[in-house]
């Protein structure tokens, strides 16, 4: 496929924003359950929620550039029964609203106790956070399923697509949370950095699995099934027109195999190698600079990763558009 930058920015930005929220909430749950004794301050939650919301809004803005008719975008909520894209369109604003509420409750210090179970105090923000967490996971699933549900895009048609959207979004969000902690509350760095490393390793395993899977795929559609002629030697001589069309522009990246391989190595270094080293350094000797490098490297790497994800999708329609004469 031809990667569209609007979609690359949309998926990476909202993925990171959602991951950041998950990081904040994980911290809160751990504290409430007394697993850790480091409590995040309300300022930390507010800054974190604001950053998360900011990323989601940027993602939404990027998505508008993908639409031919953005003024009608509201119509996209109609077909939620059948379309994952429609589901995403509904869940994204829901997530934004819930994260806004979550941040607001922390910012205003409305820590109303809703329920006490033994020593565990469940306050309003914890409840809102729970609903928001469910919404965040639904959004990850919806985003991943938009691609994973297209069965003839064999590279995408796998649960690995959804898992990778979740893991890569989460790891980028946790890394950003570590950076925010370094600014605001350095005592939280070990917690977030530790989680970031765990997620990073998981993401590496699953992204790697998807790369290996895709390398082994054999296309189900061939020129024989495309035109329905049984013969081993079929060549297209003319695709029917000499100029371009959407079919020749939207479905192929137009880059060399070498370029593709370079992007793959680049994203492995930027998403996994550099942030891993930086996170380990940050655990030993915390510094804003080191974590900023980790976060920026990871985000740039994710742009490359997403580009590669789209470029790797091999659309069967390309069989029909091979030759000009």
């Amino acid at each position: 496929m031809q990667p569209a930058f609007s979609v690359i920015f949309l998926t990476t930005l909202i993925g990171m924003g959602q991951g950041l929220f998950l990081a904040l909430y994980t911290g809160q749950v751990y504290f409430v359950l007394n697993v850790v004794d480091k409590v995040s301050t309300d300022t930390f939650y507010s800054i974190g929620s604001a950053a998360s919301l900011g990323l989601l809004i940027l993602g939404l803005v990027a998505s508008v550039f993908h639409l031919g008719r953005p003024e009608r975008a509201w119509r996209a909520a109609a077909m939620w029964r059948t379309s994952w894209l429609s589901r995403e369109v509904i869940i994204l604003p829901t997530v934004m609203g819930l994260i806004f509420l979550y941040g607001l409750v922390h910012y205003m210090g409305w820590n109303l106790t809703v329920l006490t179970i033994g020593a565990v105090v469940i306050d309003l923000s914890l409840l809102i956070g729970l609903v928001a967490t469910l919404a965040v996971f639904s959004l990850y699933i919806a985003t991943g399923m938009i691609y994973a549900c297209l069965k003839f895009l064999q590279e995408w048609h796998s649960p690995l697509t959804v898992i990778n959207y979740i893991l890569l979004g989460a790891v980028s969000g946790f890394t950003l949370a570590t950076l925010i902690a370094a600014y605001n509350q350095p005592e939280l760095i070990p917690f977030f950095a530790g989680w970031s490393i765990v997620l990073l390793v998981l993401a590496f395993i699953f992204r790697g699995a998807s790369l290996i899977r895709n390398k082994r795929l054999r296309p189900k559609s061939t020129i024989q099934t495309a035109i329905g002629i049984r013969h081993n030697q079929i060549k297209q001589k003319a695709m029917g027109f000499m100029g371009g069309s959407m079919n020749t522009r939207d479905f192929f990246h137009g880059k060399t195999a070498f370029f593709l391989r370079s992007i793959k190595s680049l994203f492995i270094i930027l998403v996994f190698a550099i942030p891993l080293i930086m996170l380990i350094i940050a655990l030993l000797k915390p510094s804003v600079m080191i974590l900023a490098i980790a976060t920026v490297s990871m985000y740039l790497g994710l742009l490359a990763e997403r580009w590669y994800f789209f470029a790797e999708g091999n659309h069967p329609q390309n069989i029909y558009y091979q030759a000009i004469a």
């Binding site: 008719r69 009608r72 297209l150 069965k151 079929i234 069309s245 939207d250 659309h315 329609q317 029909y320």
Partner: protein
């Protein structure tokens, strides 16, 4: 239920592109607005079309055959392009099975074009909405046209009658009979889309004669009498007194 569709005979198609031209002409002139073109006479021309005729070479020289292959939306019975559309702009009509795009609802997100394995959808770069073959839904029901002309523009244009239009769910229709009796098939059956349009394969029209079809066995007037031994009476001698 009706399922309108085209049956395209690859044995007859000569690759003249008349269907492409007439399709473009009809569909660029309708009330839905032009099918836009950019730089039609300049460098890098580009434009939106519903129908294309492609050419394939089968075999290795000198034993090759040229196959001309027209391709447009196949109006799949289980169209993967429809459920993915977030707005409901893409839909399949209950009454005749035509897959259509409502240009007033489409947001131009291109998702449906990703979901069509055949590359049958093309976005209109000016109206910014998705377009595709409508089976000339604005012709086939038009009672102002003479009945014979209530057919898709491509079908009317085809000089060799390689394109036949009809209801593939009616077992007695011309299209169903052609599919059944001439080996009609669907494209990319591996995806379970069940295209309604069918293709008829290339066929060799061999005529084989047997010896007794060239030489008369029954030869009452003893003409061409190279076969029968005339010295012996035959049954014919008896009956032709």
């Amino acid at each position: 239920m009706t399922q309108l569709a085209l049956v395209i005979d690859l044995n007859v198609c000569v690759g003249c592109h008349a269907c492409v031209t007439n399709c473009k002409e009809w569909n660029t002139s309708g009330s839905a607005g032009a099918l836009s073109d950019d730089n039609p006479y300049g460098k890098d021309p580009t434009g939106t079309f519903f129908n294309r005729v492609q050419t394939y070479e089968v075999g290795q020289f000198p034993k090759t055959e040229t196959v001309h292959f027209p391709k447009s939306c196949l109006h799949c019975e289980d169209p993967p392009c429809v459920p993915v559309c977030p707005t409901g702009a893409s839909y399949k009509r209950e009454e005749d099975g035509i897959v259509l795009v409502d240009y007033d609802k489409c947001i131009g997100c291109r998702y449906c074009s990703w979901a069509c394995p055949y590359g049958a959808r093309e976005i209109d770069e000016h109206q910014k909405v998705m377009k595709k073959c409508t089976l000339c839904v604005d012709r086939i029901y038009d009672e102002n046209l003479p009945e014979a002309e209530r057919q898709p523009a491509c079908v009317l244009a085809c000089p060799t009658t390689a394109r036949v239009f009809g209801d593939v769910h009616d077992p007695d229709s011309e299209v169903s009979v052609a599919i059944r009796e001439q080996g009609g098939y669907q494209l990319m059956p591996e995806w379970g889309t069940k295209p309604s349009n069918h293709y008829l394969p290339r066929r060799k029209n061999h005529v084989s004669y047997k010896k007794d079809e060239l030489e008369r066995v029954d030869n009452p007037l003893k003409k061409e009498d190279y076969q029968v031994d005339a010295s012996e009476p035959s049954l014919d001698d008896v009956t032709s007194w």
